[in-house]
């Protein structure tokens, strides 16, 4: 088990390093250079040079990359007050992601606030969708082939594929404008209490719930059907155990295993959906930050945000794998695949 965990963490770290390379390469395919974009079309050659020096974009690529990830001692350029490369003094590895080109504030500070906001929204969505979709999947499986099953399966599949901004628009129209049950924005007024914030987040969470529901329900349904058809279930039924008890003890326990992995693997989709939902509902989360940064070509923010998103994804996959292996004795007891 320990070896498995170590191997799994090692793989996650390698993947994260590959992501830093992809993201860095992404910031380099920019036509023209960063300094030009920030300084605007009317900057003189001298201003451009100064800016390039300040941003560190005049140095070779490998050195810019290693500064961004591992940090830059800055001693050589300490003389002027902001003489550190745009992509961070301490390096991403120590949590220093540099300074926003558009807002002149540390990227980590901007990201910190946005991550907290997005996490609130994501938690509300997960708290609603996980029990609901597992229940939906179990009900569909128990009524396999009947009308209820078709409604949940086809309805869930359809809800999953409709883009969040489409369902979001319809939800705003119906529940915020026509019925006036919920506010049309996600941002609660300053100093709002827990329940008021929650109230503001319910409608924005719904597009995410709709997208995740069909997928989680589908996997749960498949798991329950497999468990229902398994020999141990037949044995339990033939032993004369009541059906409710068989379902709780034998079927659910086995069927929920794959569901855990699926729930965690959806974190990536969830974050992708956050961009659209946060723009639509005017909410200052990480998705909104990525959106604003990409409009302004603010690469330090974009690069930092993508790293944080990839990190969140890797951590959730790691936790899913660990939970899965802990629940599954075949892996826990150290058997190789």
């Amino acid at each position: 088990m320990l070896r498995y965990i170590a191997r799994r963490i090692g793989l996650a770290i390698i993947t994260l390093f590959l992501i830093t390379i992809i993201v860095f390469a992404g910031t380099q395919i920019l036509p023209g250079n960063v300094a030009q974009r920030i300084a605007g079309p009317f900057a003189t050659a001298e201003q451009m040079e100064q800016l390039a020096y300040r941003l560190g974009t005049d140095r070779p690529l490998w050195s810019q990359y290693s500064d961004w990830v591992f940090g830059w001692p800055c001693s050589a350029r300490e003389t002027d007050q902001s003489g550190c490369p745009a992509l961070g003094r301490g390096g991403a590895i120590r949590g220093d992601l540099g300074t926003s080109a558009a807002l002149s504030r540390p990227v980590s500070q901007l990201l910190g606030r946005a991550v907290v906001n997005s996490a609130k929204l994501a938690v509300v969505a997960f708290v609603i969708v996980v029990p609901l979709s597992i229940l939906g999947g179990v009900v569909a499986a128990l009524r396999r082939g009947k009308l209820t099953d078709r409604i949940i399966t086809v309805g869930g599949l359809s809800a999953t594929v409709i883009p969040e901004f489409v369902s979001g628009i319809v939800l705003i129209l119906v529940f915020a404008i026509w019925l006036d049950w919920f506010p049309g924005t996600a941002t609660a007024p300053q100093g709002a209490g827990f329940f008021e914030q929650l109230y503001y987040l319910i409608l924005p969470a719904m597009p995410l719930v709709l997208v995740l529901f069909g997928y989680i329900a589908k996997i749960t349904r498949a798991g329950v059907i497999e468990a229902l058809d398994a020999d141990y279930t037949r044995t339990a039924t033939l032993k004369g155990l009541p059906r409710g008890r068989v379902i709780r003890r034998d079927v659910l326990r086995n069927a929920l295993l794959p569901t855990i992995a699926v729930v965690a693997s959806q974190v990536g989709y969830l974050i992708g959906g956050l961009v659209v939902v946060e723009v639509l509902f005017n909410y200052q989360g990480i998705g909104r930050l990525v959106f604003d940064a990409s409009k302004k070509a603010d690469f330090p923010v974009l690069a930092g945000a993508v790293l944080v998103i990839a990190l969140a994804f890797q951590v959730s996959m790691l936790l899913a794998d660990l939970a899965y292996s802990w629940l599954n004795p075949r892996i826990r007891l150290g058997a190789e695949e």
Binding site: L16, L18, V161, I169, I177, G272, V276, S294, A310, M317
Partner: protein, 279 residues
């Protein structure tokens, strides 16, 4: 997995309600993508004849009302099928062709190539598609060609992964060993022997990816990337008009939204029907 013959597959497909509903909806939008411009009641690009008629609610003359420039919403919904369908199709074709080639080679040659590609793939998969799109489009500028390339590139590893898995199981089979013993060259074995046996996997992957492509393209268009502002496009129409919602001006937003919903559901029902028939 038992071998399924072509006629059995067709039998399953013919009886699948989801497949027919999906095919019907998709065909309708393909029809509008090709002929929408010609059958639309008004010119979808129409310069507003009278600016007083902007944001007019649905009426006998304008069934879906008019937008902020006085253009007919119904005509723009019909014509809007074209941009999303061409971009999605082009991106998915690129992703499928390159992904199949990579998947065939990685699956067949295996070894270190497999490990390296697998790692890079994992890295790419940790970044949501919409975010990758935003990152790339921020660098390239709002550009339709860029959207095609970016989505095609992101799909490449995903499709390669599926094809690789299919090739791994094919590689064990006797016909491959026989071809190897005949000393056929590897590319002949890959593209003439193995490829025809993994086509069904590729067809399923293609339809599923097409759905994702439509989803992503529209989301990017909504965020203001990838589509020229004058082109009739559903995602763009929604982003241009959703601020009017507070004034209860719902028609320029709701009708494109319903068009998107019906197209993505149609394509995915089609994909679902096909994948059930293949399994």
């Amino acid at each position: 997995m038992p071998a399924v013959s072509g006629s059995q597959r067709w039998k399953v497909l013919r009886r699948s309600a989801t497949f027919w509903v999906g095919l019907g909806i998709t065909t309708m939008w393909v029809f509008f993508a090709i002929f929408g411009d010609f059958i639309a009641p008004y010119d979808p690009l129409g310069v507003p004849q009278d600016i007083l008629n902007r944001l007019a609610p649905p009426s006998a003359e304008h069934w879906f009302g008019t937008d902020e420039l006085g253009r007919d919403v119904l005509s723009r919904v019909m014509a809007g099928a074209r941009s999303v369908m061409t971009i999605a199709l082009a991106a998915t074709v690129i992703g499928t062709v390159v992904g199949t080639a990579v998947g065939l080679m990685v699956g067949y040659f295996g070894g270190i190539l497999d490990d390296i590609v697998g790692r890079i793939l994992d890295a790419f998969l940790s970044i949501p598609l919409v975010i990758t799109g935003l990152l790339a489009l921020a660098a390239l500028g709002p550009n339709t060609f860029g959207v095609v390339i970016v989505i095609g590139l992101v799909f490449t590893p995903l499709i390669a992964k599926t094809v690789r898995a299919a090739v791994l199981s094919e590689r064990q089979l006797d016909y491959v060993t026989a071809a190897q013993l005949r000393r056929e060259n590897s590319f002949y074995i890959l593209f003439v022997e193995i490829l025809p046996n993994v086509t069904s996997v590729i067809v399923v992957e293609f339809t599923v990816r097409l759905g994702y492509a439509i989803f992503t393209i529209l989301a990017l268009a909504f965020l203001g990337f990838g589509i020229e502002p004058s082109v009739p496009d559903w995602g763009l129409a929604i982003s241009q008009h959703y601020s009017y919602l507070t004034g209860n001006v719902w028609w320029p937003v709701l009708f494109p939204a319903l068009a998107i919903a019906s197209l993505v559901v149609g394509v995915n029902l089609l994909a679902d029907g096909i994948s059930q028939a293949v399994e």
